[in-house]
Amino acid sequence: MNMDREALAHLRHELRTPLNHIIGYSEMLLEDVVAADLAALGPGLRQVRHDARQLLDIINHLTHAEAEEADFGRLSAEVAVPLRSVMTEVDRLRVAAERAGAERVALDLNRVASAAAALESAIRGGIVAQPATKTNTAVLSVPPAGGLNTGVILIVDDNASNREMLGRRLEREGHQVQLAASGREALDALRERSVDHAAQVLWVVIHHFDLRAPRLASSTASADSSAASWANSAARSASASGDPSSRAIAARRSAISRRRLIARPPVLAQSRRGCH
């Protein structure tokens, strides 16, 4: 029996959206670097665009309209090389752009990196959500590739570079990682997950709170007290919302104490201890 068409369309949408960002930004950057006399970045950007188009072909092929199921195992295997190539090349380009003082280009490359991480996370974590109105069709979850079964680590940090750097390092350790740029975004991400997985709580949400993340932070507080303030605000919002994942945030409020704060730059081993 064919996969539910709506679920399949949604899956394609979820996978193609980050690819749209990778291809679009790399094409735009190719135009920009020529104009900005940064032509040395051109070959790397062309490589990113080439790899991204290859990824698009793979995704189109494996999620075509007549697909009987979304084969995440095959998808994961086939995208591994081009996706890793995109990530490696973007890292290299970002360093080169920063060294050249091309801040805008580096910022756009951060976006490409973020899109690549989102794509990897979607494929590895099977986080592609079904439409909210659908239940029990096309369950797309797969266990984390690293097999650590430690759940999803949510990194909440308003600084894109910090967020992505820590995310990538944790992913290399075999964790599933989700990124959020603000407290609000973190809560939204957790709520979405609770909708998808309410019936099968197979994972544990672990919070890597950047306690100065914006939106929910107290604007007047000092660094230390804003940490507590952010955590309290997040917990209050979570409790008020009433959904299971948000209650989990509230339940973990006690864990967010100063003894759990990890200084930046994070020491990975220290971060791991904070998780378990």
């Binding site: 959206t17 690819l19 960002h21 309209a65």
Partner: protein, 124 residues
């Protein structure tokens, strides 16, 4: 300067496409959802609308239907944009009243050709 209204909820898509269109000499107006898109189309009367179809609240299909039902906006060409890329997406978009359809990832030369064709048709 020719005004194009881009209705798109995804921040990166909005940023990327608006910057690329601006480089082509278009003035780009932005709306984040269907409701805002309909309102901006009425207030700013753009020459063309690029409509993402998967929008929160009032989606692209409904926004298109509303725009095509209103005398003030019914002649504004609308190009549907979607990342679903399923075979019937095009039919659904055209049935809602869109004048053309394109898929994401956007291929800029192809999209520009569609924009120019619709603007030329509008002018004639």
């Amino acid at each position: 300067m020719i005004k194009i209204l881009l209705v798109e909820d995804n921040e990166m898509n909005r940023d990327m496409l608006s910057r690329r269109l601006q480089k082509q000499g278009y003035e780009v107006l932005l709306a984040l959802d269907g409701e805002e898109g309909v309102a901006k189309a009425h207030s700013d009367l753009p020459a063309l609308i690029l409509m993402d179809m998967s929008l929160p609240g009032v989606d692209g299909w409904e926004a298109t239907r509303r725009l095509k039902a209103a005398a003030k906006t019914q002649n504004i060409p609308i190009i549907a944009l979607t990342a679903h890329a399923m075979t019937d997406d095009r039919d659904k978009a055209l049935a809602a009243g869109c004048d053309d359809f394109d898929t994401k990832p956007v291929e800029l030369p192809r999209l520009l050709a569609k924009i120019q064709a619709l603007l030329a048709r509008q002018a004639s």
